[in-house]
């Protein structure tokens, strides 16, 4: 078992086999994403009942909550990939980390914008500087900082090393975002689904939310593999395997 996993890591660690395997599974990931998200949107926007307190406005959770979760999950995955790249010097891991940053930044941005659109009618304000909103904004700046640092250094290996340290330092923000609503008085309400006892959301509203959540995970998987593949082809352009691919096209 351990040997199989180890072999698989060695296989995926080689840019050439990564390129081949990623090319095969990306269409499947995107197909599953489309299926889950369309079902989730239909159930969430059409079938799910209205909320006892917020009426129809609550339906924005079907975008807001999954994107906010993705914004944190992608950061953690990016930091893990960057750390693996830093310690074991694996090019594929570096590429996955770089490829994650813009996707994570996009999810963070969507979470902030949808939250703002929801805040105006419900809370009465577009934005407040409470702990939850502020720490999520810091997450967006961490993604921007990571991307800017990589763009500022020409040599890819130096860029990967420097930005990996920034990614690791930024991980401290993730538990702060998650627990901000418990540690401090915030305008943002507490956790609904990710708490110890059963979720405080009706099952008919929870199912579409979970479908959207899984759908977005498949989107990330497809998008990050596609982006990492592109980055590796560019960085390895002078190697034989890339030249072979170009010659065969």
């Amino acid at each position: 078992m351990f040997k199989t996993i180890k072999n698989w890591f060695h296989l995926m660690g080689s840019p050439r086999s990564f390129d081949r395997i990623a090319g095969k599974i990306i269409p499947w990931l995107i197909a599953i994403f489309t299926l889950l998200t369309l079902t989730g949107l239909y159930l969430g926007l059409v079938v799910a009942p209205t909320d006892y307190q917020q009426g129809e406005s609550y339906r924005i959770i079907y975008i807001h909550v999954p994107t906010a979760w993705m914004s944190m999950l992608i950061y953690v995955l990016m930091a893990i990939a960057a750390t693996v790249g830093l310690i074991w010097r694996i090019k594929v891991a570096d590429a996955i980390a770089s490829a994650s940053a813009p996707i994570g930044a996009a999810f963070t941005f969507i979470a902030l914008v949808t939250g703002s659109l929801w805040g105006k009618p419900m809370w009465g304000t577009w934005w407040v500087w409470d702990a939850r909103l502020t720490s999520e904004l810091i997450l967006l700046f961490l993604y921007f900082g990571y991307m800017a640092l990589q763009a500022a250094i020409d040599e890819p290996r130096t860029a990967a090393r420097a930005s990996a340290l920034l990614a690791i330092v930024g991980v401290v923000n993730i538990p702060i975002i998650h627990y901000s609503v418990e540690w401090w008085n915030t305008l943002h309400q507490g956790a609904t689904v990710t708490k110890i006892d059963k979720p405080s959301i009706d099952i008919s509203m929870l199912v579409p939310l979970l479908l959207m959540t899984f759908g977005f995970k498949f989107y990330y998987a497809g998008a990050v593999l596609a982006r990492a593949r592109g980055l590796l082809l560019e960085r390895e352009q002078n190697t034989n395997w890339v030249k072979e691919i170009i010659a065969n096209d």
Partner: protein, 162 residues
């Protein structure tokens, strides 16, 4: 030590160092990170007296009075333990109603809290109206949420002990 192990130790030290620094920093600024004070905090004199601040609580049931020919409203803000009168002139958010959690920004003037902004807080529960009605019938009354100073519910008390 091999170079790879050195890098592993470096990554570990960075995580631990930053984690420790963040914990200390957040503890030091705990008070400043509070978005609002509770009515009990104000009764205990914890809120500033010179500048404006935010206070969060529930709108007292049966206390809301609207002025006939202006946008002026007055109501009691309570956390179960203490309460005081709030005055506000302006448009209230959709979720504002008696029994609702709100956050008001303003200052104490002659035993009245004069608010310049009122924001509604909503809870983390999502359910269809029929379920909410059934729950209310079963419970009889709505309990004061713990975050506004009410007694912790059974599940909240359980979480605290874990």
């Amino acid at each position: 030590m091999r170079r790879r192990q050195k890098r592993m130790v470096l990554a570990l030290l960075v995580v631990m160092g930053v984690g420790a620094a963040a914990t200390l920093g957040l503890r030091a600024f705990k008070e400043n990170l509070l978005y609002f004070y509770s009515p009990s905090d104000i009764a205990a004199g914890k809120a500033p007296t010179t500048q404006s601040y935010r206070v969060g609580g529930l709108v007292g049931v049966g206390s809301l009075k609207r002025d006939e020919d202006s946008l002026k409203v007055s109501f009691d803000l309570t956390d179960g333990a203490s309460s005081f009168a709030v005055q506000y002139t302006g448009i209230l958010p959709d979720l504002f109603r008696e029994g609702q959690g709100i956050v008001a920004t303003g200052k104490m003037q002659n035993n009245h809290f004069v608010a310049s902004e009122i924001l509604a807080k909503h809870d983390e529960n999502y359910m269809p109206p029929e379920v909410s009605d059934a729950l209310k019938r079963a419970e009889g009354t709505t309990a004061m949420p713990h975050e506004f100073g009410g007694p912790p519910t059974a599940t909240e008390a359980e979480e605290k002990t874990q």
